[in-house]
């Protein structure tokens, strides 16, 4: 995990499958991710509908369909869970993770799995857990399990640095 904190800049491609109760089959999204230490994360969805999500500090800017929306992370716990689990993990910022989640780390440096359970009851009403799989300083997969039964699995293929 210490290796994670040394990441200054990273880019990756991702494929995400969302298994939603309201749908008979999962939605599949794909696009790119980029991270700049310490706080900036950009998730650019290319398919099925272009959308850019930029997280900078506490501020989230969503650009989609020609509209720009600025949000506070706090107002969107699920987005926050995603952002913080990703960002804080890359940052190696255990304190930030500890603030929101109870942590459990399994495996070794070669192959680890971090599972996060929200501490705040308001958040755990929405999110059951977040599972992050990684190898050394890289994240391979993030799975977010929502309390209502929805689930999303994001597979990350990191670009060579």
């Amino acid at each position: 995990m210490i290796e994670l904190g040394q990441v200054q800049h990273a880019t990756a491609r991702f494929v995400e499958r969302r298994y939603l109760k309201v749908l008979k089959s999962p939605v599949e999204l794909s696009g790119t991710l980029s991270y700049d230490a310490p706080d900036r994360l950009v998730r650019r969805t290319l398919e099925p509908r272009p959308e850019t999500l930029t997280v900078d500090g506490e501020r989230v800017v969503i650009e989609a369909q020609g509209r720009v929306r600025t949000l506070r992370l706090e107002d969107y716990p699920v987005a926050w869970a995603f952002v913080e689990s990703f960002r804080a993990t890359l940052k190696g910022d255990m304190a930030a993770l500890e603030r929101f989640y109870r942590l459990a780390l399994e495996g070794g440096p070669q192959r680890w799995q971090l599972s996060l359970t929200p501490r705040d009851p308001k958040m755990s009403a929405l999110i059951e857990s977040v599972l992050i799989d990684g190898r050394k300083g890289r994240i391979n997969k993030i799975e977010i399990r929502e309390a209502q039964g929805d689930r999303s699995v994001m597979t990350v293929v990191e670009d060579a640095q």
Partner: protein, 775 residues
């Protein structure tokens, strides 16, 4: 004591008792609205109402800082929870989700009647298909969670449409669940009092409540290091009133002490001193009572002005005592000087009576106060003092003082050329300044301290609280008429927005659509079976679970038949407040207000709106400034009329144009040089300087009348000089101290009168010394 004397003293005691009772029970105000016209235009009325009792006037912005964010958030939660239940407050918001839940629930329940998206096409097969395709894409978006939660009951996205309509811009950021400033160092709350902004007593109670609840909460949570700051129009009014009270009581006390010390040195008699203060005090009490009776309330500024009436009020008694040597006969002196005193009083009264004609209640109050105060001070000197003092009473000023003044007076004529030069230079300077001489902003009247204004700006910026400048205003006879008008205006503004002349606008019809619109929206929803058919066709081939949209079909069917929304339905939510601020009723006339956001081209908006009857675009800032300019121009005209009336009065009384000119010239010179000196000191003149100048003419005319009439040289020229110098010193002390006040209004009057009165005496002496003594 003679019978007449008994009657005089008895009447005086009774009058003073009555006036003191009235003054004690009077309602004191400090809001700017006293400086709004008494017969306003519709826009001015709207402005005045907003300032006096509009929702904006009832806002209190609160910041809590000085502790870690978690502690601040906890304080914010506890404070908001307790104040929301408090009778003084209509509303206490701190941005927590719990508070927004009530609003959200209302919007969700009434989404089909509130959403502008509800049209017949919207629920056709094509319309629904478009909505479902959008939903599918949304499910993959960053906000997908929200979509999937709302999807079963709101596949067409009406709820989000309504939310975006009402909250187009991000509010303050949240931290630990409540509003914070962007640095995360200050938790923010927005309160609204039940009482109107102009009700300062209620505002004071509300403020005390906030502080006591905060102290209790802070003690409970052991967060004693946290500090609370509050701001808003009501808070300002409370602060200004306290400030003026403090200024007035402190300065009056200091002035009384200093004037007393000075007079004791001159009189060398405590009794004479006491008798000198009596007429002035009587005048001040009577003046306050007169204003309270005539206007229903007394403005703090009037009171501040009143404290300094001491300056002119003591003069009459000073003239009397300094001109009476022991054993000379007090009544004889009085008989000799009272015609001159009377003329002095009359000039002042004439000068101030023009203020009574003023459109502005604040100025009229000052006028009435001064007139009543001076007349009472004069009458008490003339009729009551002789009854309280034995006739043989008199004072013996130090001989050296008289000799020194006589020496100075003889030398004064050498200053004629410098005086002329000073006047010429002053006129040139004033002419060169032109319009820059005046401060044209209504805020220049505001007695609010700069540091408080800065705090207010900071909290307002943090909270993104409305700082409304442009308002589209529509009038109607009924609530429905006003809402329909707001919808028509909204349609035009929507066009203006698309042309990017404005960024957006608020409308009461966004929160409460007119009945006609609500009915049209109900009619746009198809019959339940038809809607189900349309939906099934639209969802064909899409991966939605079967029967997913049952809640939507049920809600849409209910919406078709639900009772129309009325203002009562949103009681207890923040929306009720917003509606109240945008839609108001007064005397059966309804007004809808649509504040415009980020106006780039006011002229484009005005042009588009000009086509609508009964609608106009109001620029509050321009309106306020124009109002103030009108106010100042009127004061200027009145001052000129007052000066002309004084000249006429002197001409009639002295029966000689030359003698009237000899009285007036030094005053004119003093006024011009005073203006120039104030302006040179980097001060832009306001209407209060103008009022101060009127007082300069009133006080100064006494000096120059005495110089001109030269009643005493034959008996004792040195006594005349001592009395003039004493009068002048008391005025300069009173007003000079006022120029140290915190309230800018009091400072302006103080510095103007202290300077002007001193110059009047100097110039009077210089010009009098140049004339041969009349025999």
């Amino acid at each position: 004591m003679s019978r007449v004397g008994l009657i005089a003293v008895g009447a005086w005691v009774a009058l003073m008792a009555g006036c003191a009772w009235i003054a004690w029970h009077a309602n004191y105000t400090a809001d700017l609205s006293a400086f709004l016209p008494r017969t306003p235009t519709p826009s001015q009325k709207l402005l005045a109402e907003q300032l006096r009792q509009g929702v904006v006037s009832r806002l209190i912005l609160v910041g809590i800082e000085g502790a870690p964010p978690q502690a601040l958030a906890a304080l914010s939660q506890a404070l908001a929870a307790r104040l929301a239940r408090d009778a003084e407050f209509a509303y206490a918001a701190n941005g927590s989700q719990e508070q927004l839940a009530a609003d959200g629930e209302f919007l969700m329940r009434h989404r089909y009647l509130l959403s502008p998206g509800v049209t017949p096409e919207h629920f056709s097969v094509a319309g629904l298909r478009e909505a479902l395709d959008g939903d599918l894409a949304d499910l993959g978006s960053a906000l997908g969670a929200l979509t999937s939660r709302l999807l079963p009951s709101d596949p067409t996205g009406e709820f989000m449409r309504v939310v975006e309509l009402l909250e187009p811009e991000a509010g303050p950021q949240r931290q630990n669940g409540v509003w914070f400033n962007s640095a995360g160092t200050r938790a923010l709350l927005l309160l609204q009092t039940r009482a109107a902004g102009f009700d300062i007593d209620a505002q004071e109670r509300a403020l005390a409540r906030i502080r006591s609840v905060f102290d209790a909460v802070a003690a409970q949570q052991s967060a004693l290091e946290a500090r609370l700051s509050a701001t808003g129009p009501g808070v300002f009014a409370v602060g200004v009133r306290a400030q003026i009270k403090h200024d007035v009581s402190r300065i009056s006390l200091l002035a009384v002490v200093l004037v007393s010390v000075m007079l004791l040195a001159v009189y060398r008699s405590p009794r004479a001193l006491l008798m000198t203060l009596l007429p002035a005090a009587s005048g001040a009490v009577a003046g306050v009572a007169a204003v309270a009776v005539a206007f229903g309330s007394v403005h703090g500024v009037t009171l501040g002005f009143g404290a300094t009436l001491l300056g002119e009020g003591v003069d009459y008694a000073i003239y009397l005592f300094t001109n009476t040597a022991p054993g000379n006969g007090l009544r004889r002196s009085l008989a000799r000087i009272w015609p001159t005193l009377l003329l002095g009083v009359l000039t002042s009264v004439v000068g101030f009576s023009v203020l009574l004609l003023s459109q502005f209640a604040g100025l009229a109050q000052l006028g009435l106060f001064s007139i009543v105060g001076l007349i009472v001070a004069y009458v008490v000197t003339r009729f009551v003092l002789p009854e309280l003092i034995p006739d043989h009473f008199g004072v013996r000023p130090p001989a050296a003082l008289g000799a020194a003044f006589a020496w100075l007076a003889r030398g004064a004529r050498w200053l004629r050329i410098p005086l002329l030069l000073a006047v010429v230079l002053s006129v040139a300077w004033l002419a060169s300044r032109g319009h820059a001489l005046w401060d044209d902003r209504l805020e220049s009247l505001s007695p609010v301290a700069e540091s408080d204004k800065r705090l207010d700006e900071t909290l307002r910026r943090d909270l993104g609280a409305p700082d409304v400048r442009y308002l589209a205003v529509a009038a109607a006879d009924t609530e429905q008429g006003a809402l329909e008008a707001a919808e028509r205006v909204g349609a035009v503004l929507e066009r203006v927005r698309r042309a990017e002349a404005i960024r957006g606008f608020e409308s009461p019809a966004h929160i409460l659509p007119s009945d006609a619109t609500q009915r049209a929206r109900q009619a746009a929803i198809p019959e339940p079976d038809a809607l189900r058919d349309n939906l099934e066709q639209a969802a064909q081939g899409l991966p939605f679970q079967p029967r997913l949209f049952e809640p939507f079909l049920k809600d849409a069917a209910a919406a078709r038949q639900q009772p129309l929304i009325s203002a009562n339905d949103m009681a207890g939510t923040a929306l009720a407040l917003r509606l109240e601020s945008l839609l108001s009723e007064r005397d059966g006339a309804w007004t809808a207000m649509l504040p415009l956001r980020a106006v780039r081209e006011p002229s484009a908006a005005a042009r588009e709106l000009s086509g609508l009857a009964g609608v106009h675009l109001l620029d509050l800032k321009a309106e306020a400034d124009a109002l103030y300019r009108g106010y100042r121009d009127q004061a200027l005209h009145l001052a000129l009329i007052g000066a002309a009336a004084i000249a006429l009065l002197l001409f009639a009384a002295l029966r000689s144009a030359r003698r009237a000119a000899e009285v007036l010239l030094p005053l004119a010179a003093a006024v011009v040089v005073t203006c120039a000196l104030l302006s040179l000191g980097g001060h832009q003149l306001t209407v209060f300087n103008l009022v101060g100048l009127l007082l300069v003419v009133g006080v100064g005319s006494n000096y120059t009348l005495f110089f001109e009439r030269e009643i005493f040289p034959r008996s004792d020229p040195q006594r005349t000089l001592i009395s003039l110098a004493s009068c002048n010193a008391s005025t300069v002390i009173g007003f000079g101290l006022l120029s140290l006040a915190h309230a800018n209004v009091l400072r302006a009057i103080g510095s103007t009168v202290a300077l002007g009165a001193f110059l009047s005496l100097m110039f009077g002496a210089i010009l009098a010394a140049s004339r041969p003594v009349r025999g």
